[in-house]
C-alpha cells in the first residue's frame, strides 16, 4: 500500500512537471501527455483510497493524511470532470501543482491507520466527510481560476504582456469558471454542514455544539454565501469575484488545518 501511495505521488509530480513543460512550450502533444499522466495518477489514487478502505475497514477520511489525500483526489477528479465538460486553456498548469502540493503534505503526515472511537463508527462518516471534502475540491478549483483571473487581469490592465497574456484564457472564460465551481461547490458545502449536523445529533445528541470546526465551516459557508449573494444582486463579478474566491479558499484551508492545529475540538484527527 505504501508503494501504491508513493507511485501515486510520483505520477502527480510527473503530471505537474509535464504541465509546466507544456506551459512553456505550448506543444499540444506535451499537453496530451500531461493529461494522460494526471488521469493515470487519478486512477492510481483511487486504487490507493480503496486499498486503504479495505485495510482500515472504514472510509479513509479519518486522519490528516487521509483527509488531505482525499482532498487532492477530489481536486483531481473535479478538474478532470471539468475538462470533460468544457475547456479552460492552461487550467491544468495551475491545478496540478496544487494537487501535488497537497499530496506532498499528505506524504509528510503520519500514514498510521487510526482506530475510530465507537461514536464515529457510522455510515455518516463517508457521507459527511466525502461531501465536505468534495466541496473543498471545487473551492480549490475556483481558487485556481481566481489566481489565473488576477494574473491575466493584471497583464491586460498594466499593459504588461508577459508569459501569461497569450497563454491564459479570456477574462470572461475565467469568470465563468469561477461561477461554475461555486455553483457546484456551494451546494456541496451546504450539504456537508447539514449532514455533519445530523451525524452530530446521532453521535452526541445535539445538532450543533460550536465545535471550532463547526464554527469555521459556518464562517466559510457565510463567505461563499456572501460571494454568491453579491454576484447576483450588485454585480460582484470578475475581479472582485476572483479575489473573493481566494479569500473563501483561505477560509476553507483554515477550516481544514488551522482549526486542528490551533483550536482542537471533536474534529481534530485522533492522535
Amino acid at each position: 500500500m505504501g508503494e501504491l501511495f508513493q507511485l501515486t505521488v510520483l505520477a502527480y509530480v510527473a503530471a505537474t512537471i509535464t504541465y509546466l513543460v507544456y506551459f512553456s512550450s505550448q506543444n499540444k502533444r506535451v499537453r496530451g501527455g500531461a493529461r494522460g499522466l494526471l488521469l493515470g495518477a487519478g486512477v492510481l489514487h483511487t486504487g490507493y483510497i480503496v486499498a486503504r478502505y479495505l485495510a482500515s475497514g472504514h472510509t479513509p477520511i479519518a486522519s490528516n493524511h487521509e483527509a488531505v489525500s482525499f482532498f487532492a483526489w477530489s481536486l483531481t477528479w473535479g478538474f478532470l470532470s471539468f475538462r470533460w465538460r468544457y475547456q479552460v486553456k492552461n487550467f491544468g498548469v495551475f491545478v496540478s501543482p496544487l494537487i501535488t502540493l497537497l499530496m506532498v503534505i499528505a506524504a509528510l503526515s503520519s500514514r498510521h491507520i487510526v482506530e475510530l472511537p465507537p461514536a464515529l463508527q457510522s455510515y455518516w462518516l463517508p457521507i459527511h466527510a466525502s461531501i465536505a471534502i468534495l466541496a473543498n475540491g471545487f473551492m480549490a478549483l475556483a481558487f485556481c481560476g481566481g489566481v489565473m483571473y488576477l494574473i491575466q487581469e493584471w497583464e491586460i490592465k498594466r499593459k504588461h504582456f508577459g508569459l501569461f497574456y497569450s497563454r491564459l484564457p479570456s477574462l470572461e472564460a475565467l469568470d465563468n469558471l469561477n461561477q461554475h465551481c461555486l455553483a457546484i461547490g456551494f451546494p456541496l458545502l451546504t450539504l456537508g454542514i447539514v449532514t455533519g449536523s445530523i451525524w452530530a445529533k446521532q453521535a452526541w445528541g445535539a445538532y450543533w455544539q460550536w465545535d471550532p470546526k463547526e464554527t469555521w465551516s459556518l464562517i466559510t459557508w457565510f463567505v461563499y454565501a456572501a460571494i454568491i449573494h453579491q454576484r447576483l444582486t450588485v454585480g460582484w463579478r470578475r475581479r472582485r469575484a476572483a479575489i473573493m474566491a481566494i479569500v473563501g479558499f483561505s477560509a476553507v484551508l483554515f477550516t481544514l488545518w488551522g482549526v486542528n492545529f490551533l483550536l482542537g475540538g471533536v474534529h481534530s484527527y485522533a492522535g
Binding site: 499593459k159 504582456f161 477574462l171 465563468n176 454585480g235
Partner: protein, 431 residues
C-alpha cells in the same frame, strides 16, 4: 546525385522590385509556359509558381545533364528584356537540399511578405495541380510537393505562426477577445467616424460582434457609417448614457480636449453591474482620460499601448518562425533520406535486369543444343538457372540495402555499379 538534380530559380518580393516581378509574371493559364518548360533540354519534371510576390520555377533535371540553370534562366527572363547578367541580381537560385528547404519554407509561409499568411499554400497547391494536369511532374516533384504541403500543415498545427497578425486594429480585436471571450453578444460604440475607427469596426464585425453604434459630431456622417455596419447612430451628447449599454468604445474624434472623464464613467460602472468596459483611444491628441484605466473592470488602451501589442505579436511571430525553421530543417533531412533510398532502387533493378538477361540468353542457347528433353526436364533446368541467379544476387542486394551512413551508401552503390558493369551498358541490354 539525385538530390542535386532538383533546382529552383525565381524572384520574390525580397530580391526584385515589383517592376521586375510584373514583367515575369505568368497568367493563370499555365499551359504554354509549362509546355515550353517541359521541352527544355534536360528537363525531367517541372512546376511553375506565379503569385504577386513571387515567380519561381522548380525543376528536376535529367541526371548527368548540365546547363539546366542557364536554360531555365533564359526561359524565365527571355521575354522580359532583362539580360542574363542583370537577372542574377534579381533572382535566387537553389540546388539540392537548399532547393528542398526553399520549397518547404515557401509552402509554410516563412518566405512570405507577411510571415504566416495562409494564401501561399493554396497558391502552391494550385500550381502543383496545374503541373500534374499537364503531366509535368514525376516521382520526385510529386513527393517533394506533397511533402511540402504536409510540412506546412505540421508547422501550422505545431507552431502559432498564423496566430497573430500585425496591425493596430487586429491588436484591438485580439485584446477584446482576451477580455470578453466571445464577441457575439457584445456592442461596440464608435465615437468619431475616422478611417481607423472604421477599420477596427470592420475587424470586429468580421469577428462576429453583435452590434455597432456610431456617435459623431455631425449626425449625418454617423448615420452614413452606421448604415454600412447595419448599426444605429446617436449624437455625441448621448455618449455617457450609451456607456451603460456598450462593451467596447473606439474613440477617434478630432477634439482637442478630453471627451470622457473618470468621474463621468465611475457611476456608469455600477449601473453596468461591473461588466467590463474596453475603451480604445486611437485619437491624437487623446480623447479619453488616461485615469479611466484606474477604474475597476475598465480597460483603457491608447494608440501607443496598441502599438506595444503589435510589437509583441511581431516578437511572438519571430519566436514561432524559429520553431518553424527547425521543423523545415528536420523535414528536409527526411526528404533527402528518401531521395537516397530512391537511388538504391534503380541500382537494384538494373542489377536484377542484367542477371535475368544473362540467364534468359544462356537458357535459350543451352536449350537450343539439347534436343530430346521432355517438358519436365526443361522446367527443371529453368528452375535451376533461376535459383542460381537469385542466390548469386542475394548478397550484393543485402550489401546495398544495408543501413549505413549516406556517404558510405553512395560508395557501396558505386562499387556494385562498377563490379557488375551497370554503368557501362546501362544494365539493360544483354551482353
Amino acid at each position: 546525385m539525385l538530390a542535386e538534380t532538383i533546382i529552383c530559380l525565381g524572384v520574390n518580393h525580397k530580391t526584385a522590385p515589383v517592376a521586375v516581378r510584373e514583367k515575369l509574371a505568368f497568367s493563370s493559364d499555365c499551359t504554354v509556359p509549362l509546355t515550353e518548360l517541359k521541352a527544355l533540354p534536360g528537363c525531367e519534371e517541372c512546376c511553375l509558381l506565379s503569385t504577386c510576390n513571387r515567380v519561381e520555377i522548380l525543376l528536376v533535371a535529367k541526371e548527368g545533364v548540365t546547363g539546366s540553370e542557364e536554360a531555365v534562366r533564359r526561359f524565365l527572363f527571355g521575354a522580359s528584356g532583362i539580360t542574363l547578367e542583370e537577372s542574377r541580381q534579381y533572382s535566387y537560385f537553389h540546388q539540392g537540399s537548399a532547393a528542398i528547404t526553399h520549397v518547404f519554407r515557401v509552402a509554410a509561409s516563412l518566405d512570405s511578405m507577411v510571415v504566416g499568411e495562409p494564401q501561399i499554400l493554396g497558391q502552391l497547391k494550385d500550381a502543383y495541380r496545374a503541373a500534374t494536369e499537364h503531366q509535368a511532374t514525376g516521382a520526385v516533384l510529386n513527393k517533394l510537393l506533397t511533402k511540402a504541403f504536409s510540412v506546412a500543415k505540421r508547422i501550422r498545427t505545431e507552431t502559432n505562426i498564423g496566430g497573430s497578425a500585425v496591425s493596430i486594429s487586429y491588436a484591438a480585436v485580439q485584446l477584446a477577445k482576451k477580455i470578453f471571450g466571445d464577441l457575439k453578444d457584445k456592442k461596440v460604440l464608435l465615437v468619431g467616424a475616422g478611417e481607423m475607427a472604421e477599420l477596427a469596426a470592420e475587424h470586429l464585425v468580421a469577428q462576429g460582434i453583435g452590434k455597432v453604434v456610431v456617435a459623431n459630431r455631425t449626425l449625418e456622417r454617423a448615420v452614413k457609417l452606421a448604415q454600412t455596419f447595419h448599426g444605429a447612430a446617436v449624437g455625441l451628447d448621448e455618449l455617457v448614457p450609451q456607456l451603460a449599454e456598450v462593451d467596447i468604445l473606439i474613440s477617434s474624434t478630432g477634439a482637442t480636449d478630453l471627451i470622457l472623464r473618470k468621474e463621468e464613467v465611475r457611476p456608469v460602472m455600477r449601473q453596468r453591474y461591473n461588466r467590463p468596459l474596453f475603451l480604445i483611444d486611437i485619437a491624437v491628441p487623446r480623447d479619453l482620460d488616461p485615469e479611466l484605466n484606474d477604474l475597476d473592470n475598465v480597460y483603457l488602451y491608447d494608440i501607443d499601448d496598441l502599438k506595444q501589442v503589435v510589437e509583441l505579436n511581431r516578437a511572438e511571430r519571430q519566436k514561432e518562425a524559429d520553431k518553424a525553421e527547425r521543423i523545415v530543417g528536420e523535414e528536409a533531412i527526411k526528404f533527402l533520406q528518401w531521395l537516397e533510398a530512391m537511388e538504391v532502387a534503380p541500382t537494384i533493378t538494373a542489377l536484377r535486369r542484367k542477371a535475368e538477361a544473362i540467364r534468359d540468353a544462356e537458357l535459350a542457347k543451352t536449350m537450343g543444343t539439347l534436343t530430346g528433353l521432355g517438358d519436365k526436364e526443361r522446367k527443371g533446368i529453368e528452375m535451376m538457372a533461376n535459383a542460381m541467379v537469385n542466390k548469386m544476387l542475394h548478397d550484393p542486394m543485402m550489401f546495398m540495402k544495408a543501413p549505413v551512413p549516406a556517404e558510405e551508401k553512395r560508395a557501396h552503390l558505386a562499387v556494385i555499379r562498377k563490379v557488375f558493369g551497370l554503368d557501362a551498358d546501362g544494365g539493360d541490354s544483354a551482353p
